[in-house]
């Protein structure tokens, strides 16, 4: 079985982004870029399936500018067999990405597609669900556990208030939550090996995918800032403030 795993190049988790003064977006010039952390978990899960002989090939895909090759090389260094870069603008939205991926699913015929549940730049949490919809596949979103048995994917999902388990017909789409696994570190020998692995570049047009979007970002602004309040010297003062000033406890 082939596994398709989708990775996005995003501003690194540890970077605090700044809004541009003309409100046209956030400043990402000279900022460290990394693989979206949830996508790293997705790649790790694909590798575990291959190491357990449940997957025969792992194909990593990314949609974005040329620099996404670095992100794909990271996926290859983690162990993916080959990579596909669908070259398009950096800010292509979830629906367009889902349409591109749907064309690749048609071409590659994977038994399973794994993505991160959301990207930490736009925080949309849509692509996996949209891809599943376009391919008429079932979806196991926010997965904290994945078991393949009897031709089905049994997915434990992190939902409000606890966990839920669903059984999906395959092929299926799974989106990774934080606790699905802990991704491995890439080692230097594997980074060297990754350089020799095949990386194909295609365009959305060549795949026949529509990338136009009806959505436009009018502006990006600073969130309202919260002023730091006061330091209280002791618990007694804290309780007094909460009772008499904030009036939030009785």
């Amino acid at each position: 079985m082939k596994v398709l795993v989708c990775v996005k190049r995003v501003v690194d988790y540890n970077v605090k982004v700044r809004v541009k003064s003309d409100q046209s977006g956030v400043d990402i010039a000279n900022v460290k870029m990394s693989m979206n952390p949830f996508d790293e978990i997705a790649v790790e899960q694909a590798m575990r399936l291959r190491e357990a002989s449940q997957a025969t090939e792992v194909v990593a895909v990314s949609c974005g500018p040329t620099q996404c090759q670095e992100t794909l090389r990271t996926a290859l260094a983690m162990g993916a067999d080959r990579a596909i870069l669908v070259e398009c603008e950096a800010d292509v939205g979830p629906l367009a990405v889902a349409r591109i991926l749907a064309r690749l699913v048609e071409r590659e015929q994977p038994g399973l597609v794994i993505l991160g549940k959301q990207a930490i730049d736009d925080d949309s949490n849509q692509t996996g669900q949209m891809l599943a919809s376009l391919c008429d596949m079932p979806q196991g979103t926010f997965a904290s556990k994945l078991v393949l048995e009897g031709g089905r994917a049994v997915v434990t999902r992190e939902v409000d208030g606890g966990l839920e388990t669903v059984s999906l017909r395959m092929p299926a789409v799974v989106t990774a939550d934080l606790r699905l696994n802990e991704p491995r570190y890439v080692t230097l020998p594997n980074i060297m090996k990754a350089k020799k692995k095949p990386l194909e570049t295609v365009t959305p047009a060549a795949l026949g995918a529509e990338t136009a979007s009806a959505q436009r970002v009018l502006k990006v602004s600073e969130p309202p800032t919260r002023k730091a309040g006061i330091r209280v010297p002791d618990v007694a003062t804290l309780v007094a403030k909460l009772r008499d000033e904030a009036k939030v406890v009785s």
Binding site: D123, S133, E158, R169, A214, P223, G229, L238, L242, V248
Partner: protein, 309 residues
């Protein structure tokens, strides 16, 4: 303008957050209908009919709707969406799972986690863990939106909308429900609680979280945790407050032994009053706290419980 709100429920009762979603729907400028899709959920439809501003409740019942499987609910939403300009769900694990699937099925995009309705086609939403706010305009003929409940004040009761039964779509046959593990608790639900007591890695162990439980009981609060505390195994997954966990905005948020990573702040900085108790005077949490106390939590919390009486 006509909006359809996808109700979140457990077949027995309507979740309180639907009231906030209805408030957002009303801001879109037209009539608001509610879809209750489930099994044996007529009581839920009756509850929805009583809420202010509801024009009509659509009740759709089928065995394959019982557990809210996205594959089936999304088909039902798509079957009805054609008559609406807006289709709106809560930005909860339910809404986030179902709504993008319905939107893509109809060939439309979605605007996630809406925190303000600027106009019928323009919305504000946080990006980069809340470090920036994007104003998004959408030209789609049907706007699919998930809205953040804490950003809208809930509507009250006082409505008397008719309940109309609509035909259920067939089972997509793609997925089946296996089971659910829901933590039993007498405490208020984290997402809607008036007071939240949250602990971080400084608690040091799952046993020490018991200290927070005593405080939470005194304040009738929900319990939360930072990602660090959850990752360390001190608290269950669904307690996590932050960018990738729950977004909360209670009247009072007490952060105990939480340093205040941006991903955590994204989940609680809209709280009305924030209290931070931390040993480290330089912890970033103090920059958003209304009341900061630099203290050892193992001394401060028992004293706090005692003084609250």
């Amino acid at each position: 303008m006509r909006a359809l709100v996808l109700a979140e429920h457990d077949n027995a009762s309507l979740k309180p957050l639907n009231r906030n979603v209805l408030a957002a729907a009303a801001r879109c400028g037209g009539e608001v209908d509610v879809l209750v899709a489930g099994q044996g959920c007529a009581a839920v439809a009756a509850q929805a009919a009583k809420l202010a501003g509801v024009a009509k409740v659509l009740l759709s019942e089928a065995p394959h709707f019982e557990h809210g499987l996205a594959e089936n609910i999304a088909l039902q939403v798509a079957a009805l969406a054609g008559g609406y300009t807006h289709v709106i769900a809560p930005a909860s694990s339910f809404g986030r799972n179902v709504l993008p699937r319905a939107a893509a099925r109809m060939g439309f995009g979605q605007v996630s986690d809406v925190t303000a309705i600027v106009s019928a086609d323009t919305f504000e939403r946080p990006i980069y863990a809340g470090n920036a706010i994007a104003t998004v305009q959408s030209g789609d003929a049907i706007q699919f939106l998930t809205v953040r409940p804490t950003s809208f004040d809930p509507v009250g009761e006082g409505g008397a909308a008719p309940v109309e039964t609509v035909a259920a779509v067939a089972d997509a046959g793609l997925s089946t429900f296996v089971g659910r593990e829901v933590a039993k608790s007498d405490r208020p639900e984290l997402a809607g609680a008036r007071v939240v007591v949250s602990g971080g890695r400084a608690l040091g162990s799952a046993e020490n979280f018991a200290l927070l439980e005593r405080l939470a009981t005194r304040l009738n609060a929900a319990l939360g945790a930072s990602r660090a505390a959850v990752d360390a195994g001190y608290a269950p997954n669904d307690w996590q407050v932050g960018q990738t966990g729950k977004i909360v905005a209670p009247q009072l948020y007490i952060a105990i032994g939480i340093s205040g990573a941006i991903q955590h702040l994204a989940g609680m900085k809209d709280s009305k009053v924030i209290v931070a108790i931390n040993k480290d005077p330089d912890a970033p949490i103090f920059q958003v706290a209304d009341y900061g106390l630099v203290a050892d939590l193992f001394e401060a919390i028992p004293e706090l419980i005692e003084r609250l009486g």
